[in-house]
Symmetry: C2
Subunit: 335 residues, 2 copies
C-alpha cells in the first residue's frame, strides 16, 4: 500500500515538499488503537529502541552494582547531543567499570549540538567516541560485560554475548523475529533489525505497562522508561524534540527518535505504545508526526494537547531567523 502524505512543508502559502509515512499505536496486547499507512512493512527502528536495548544493563544487576541512577539510565537510552554533561556522564559510567572512552567501539563524530562542536574547536580539541550520540548506550553495554565478567572487546558484533542479550530482549519485547535475515549494521556498528511498526508499538506498550513481560523484565522496563521521563536532557539535549516533548508533561510522555525518521513513544496513563516512520527518513517529519499523534491521544487534557499540537506546526525559518513557512501535519494524524 502507498503511504499517505502526513506532513507538508509550506513556504508562504505553497506546499514546497511533502513527507509520507506510517503510524501504529497499540496496547500491550498488541491490539491496534490507531493505524495509518503500512504498519506491517518492516522498518529499522535504529536508536528509537535504545530503552529496550538497555534492559540487560538493569536486569543483569549492573545498574545497581554500579550505582547508576536516572541520569545514567537515561543516557544509556539516549541519542545525546555530545554536550559536555553527556560526555562527562558517559565517561563516569565507564570509569565505574575501571575503563575510559578508549573502550568504546561506536566510532567518532562531532557533537550534533553545534555549540558543543564549536566549543571543542575553540579549545583546539577533537571529538572522540565519547561524543558519539550513542556513547551512553555503549557505555551501558560495556559496563554490563564487565559486571558479568565477559570480555568487552568486540561487544558490537552480533555474535558477542552483549548483542545476544540485547537481541533476546528486543525479540521478547516486540515479539518479532530478529535474525540474520532482517538485520543490517547500525550507525554505531551494532546490529539493527527491521521489524513491523505495529510490533514496535506493542513493544513500547509492554515497556511502559510491564504487561506481557516477566516480573523482572517488567520492573527493569518501567525503571528505564521512568528514568528517561525524569531526565529528558540526558536522552537528547538542549533544544532537541525528545527533550522538549518529555518536558512538556513530566512523567506522562516517553519519546525516542531513531535515525531515518523513526519515533517510538509510550503513554503510561493510557498504556499505549507508538511507533512511526517517515517513509523518506526525514527527521523533521517524524518530529511533527509524533507531536501530532501525542496531541491526538492526549486530547482529554486540552491544555497539553494544544501545546503538543503547536509543537507539531514548527515554523520554517530563513537565514535571518524570520518565519517564511510552516510544517503542517495532515488531518489524518489528528482525527
Amino acid at each position: 500500500m502507498t503511504n499517505l502524505v502526513l506532513v507538508e512543508v509550506l513556504r508562504g502559502e505553497i506546499v514546497e515538499s511533502a513527507h509520507r509515512g506510517a503510524v501504529a499505536v497499540c496496547d500491550a496486547d498488541g491490539k491496534a488503537v490507531l493505524e495509518i499507512g503500512d504498519t506491517s512493512q518492516p522498518v529499522f527502528p535504529r536508536s528509537a529502541i535504545k530503552a529496550i536495548q538497555a534492559l540487560p544493563l538493569v536486569e543483569s544487576g549492573t545498574a545497581d552494582a554500579y550505582g547508576f541512577g536516572n541520569k545514567e539510565l537515561a543516557l544509556a537510552c539516549a541519542s545525546h547531543g555530545g554536550e559536555p554533561a553527556h560526555v562527562e556522564l558517559a565517561s563516569a559510567m565507564l570509569a565505574t567499570a575501571g575503563l575510559d572512552g578508549a573502550a568504546l567501539e561506536c566510532g567518532t563524530h562531532w557533537p550534533s549540538h553545534q555549540d558543543s562542536t564549536l566549543a571543542l574547536a575553540r579549545a583546539g580539541r577533537l571529538p572522540n567516541d565519547l561524543h558519539n550520540n550513542c556513547s551512553g548506550k555503549h557505555s551501558g553495554f560495556i559496563c554490563t560485560c564487565v559486571h558479568l565478567g565477559v570480555d568487552h572487546h568486540g561487544y558490537v558484533a552480533a555474535g558477542h554475548r552483549s548483542q545476544q542479550m540485547v537481541r533476546e530482549a528486543m525479540q521478547d519485547v516486540t515479539g518479532a523475529r530478529h535474525d540474520a535475515g532482517n538485520s543490517a549494521i547500525d550507525g554505531c556498528s551494532i546490529p539493527t533489525y527491521a521489524i513491523p511498526l505495529k510490533d514496535l508499538a506493542a513493544g513500547f506498550a509492554k515497556m511502559v505497562t510491564g504487561k506481557g513481560l516477566s516480573a523482572k523484565r517488567a520492573k527493569a522496563a518501567r525503571r528505564l522508561m521512568a528514568a528517561c521521563m525524569a531526565e529528558p536532557f540526558y536522552v537528547a539535549g538542549t533544544g532537541r524534540a525528545d527533550t522538549r516533548l518529555m518536558q512538556a508533561a513530566p512523567g506522562r510522555i516517553f519519546v525516542k527518535i531513531g535515525a531515518e525518521g523513526v519515533y517510538c513513544a509510550a503513554l503510561p496513563e493510557l498504556g499505549f505504545g507508538i511507533a512511526l516512520k517517515a517513509e523518506d527518513g526525514g527527521e523533521r517529519a517524524a518530529e511533527v508526526m509524533v507531536a501530532a499523534v501525542l496531541s491526538r491521544l492526549l486530547k482529554a487534557d486540552e491544555d497539553l494537547s494544544e501545546r503538543l499540537a503547536a509543537m507539531a506546526r514548527p515554523p520554517v525559518l530563513n537565514r535571518k531567523g524570520l518565519a517564511v513557512g510552516v510544517l503542517r501535519p495532515a488531518e489524518a494524524l489528528f482525527v
Copy 2:
C-alpha cells in the same frame, strides 16, 4: 498523480527509506525528452536557478565594467560552502563596488563546509554574511545596483529594481508566470517563485543553447553557463556533488542544486535542460537522481556514463566510515 519512488536507501539488503520524485528533460523548444512523475506541479527552484538570476549582472554590463571573470561569475551562480576562497572572492567582488560584507542582506550562517566552520571557530571567529552560501549571488546583485546607479539598500525586496530585473529574467527564460500568487521568501530573503519542472527544464535548455532568447541574453546565458563549468569549485566547493559532477566532464555538464531536493542541469552537446525534485526535499535523493539522469542522457559516452552511474550509487557509511548500505536509483531513471 502520485510520484513514484526514484531512490531507495538500503541498509544491508533491506530498503530502509524511499524517496519519490519527478524529473523533466526538455529541449529549448519546450519539447519533453523525458518526463517522470508530475512535471506540471509547481516547485520552488530555490538556488537551482541562480544562473538565471545572474543574467542581469552580465547583461547590465556590470561584469565587464568590474572585470569579473569565470570565477566571479561562477560564484554569482553558487551555493558555496563558505570556504576561505569563496568568502575572499565575494569580498573582493563587493570591494570592486567600493563596498564590503556589511552591504549583504542574505543573513548569516556557519559555513556548510565543516572544516571551514571548525577553522573559523579555532581562530576564535564568528561567521558573517560573506559565509552565507548565497553571498556570491548577493554580491552580484549589489554590484549590479552600484553599476546602474541604483541604491542597493533593500535589494532583497520583491519591489526593488534588483529583484524586478531578476524576476523579468526568470519569467523570460522559463516562460512561466512569476508574481505574488506563486511567490514566497527564500532562505536568503529574496523572493522565490514556484513553477513547473518542465518550464525549468526548458529554461535551462535555452540557457545552454541560447535558443529562444534575445541575442544579448543568449550571450550572457552561455557566458554564465561556461563560467560555472570552467570553475566548478566556485559553484559549490570541496567534496560537493555539483563540483564533482561538473569536474567529471569539463564543459559538458552544468548542474546546480537547490534547497529542498531540487536540481537544474543542462547538457550543451545535446541542447537539453533538466529539472528535478525529490518530493520530500531530500538532498541525497536529488543528488542520486541527477547523476542517474545524466548517466542515461550521456550513454553514448560509455566511460562517462558509467562514472556518472557510479556516482548515482553512493554508499551509506556508519560512524566508523564503513559502507553499511547504498543509495539505489530506480530503473525508471535509466531506461
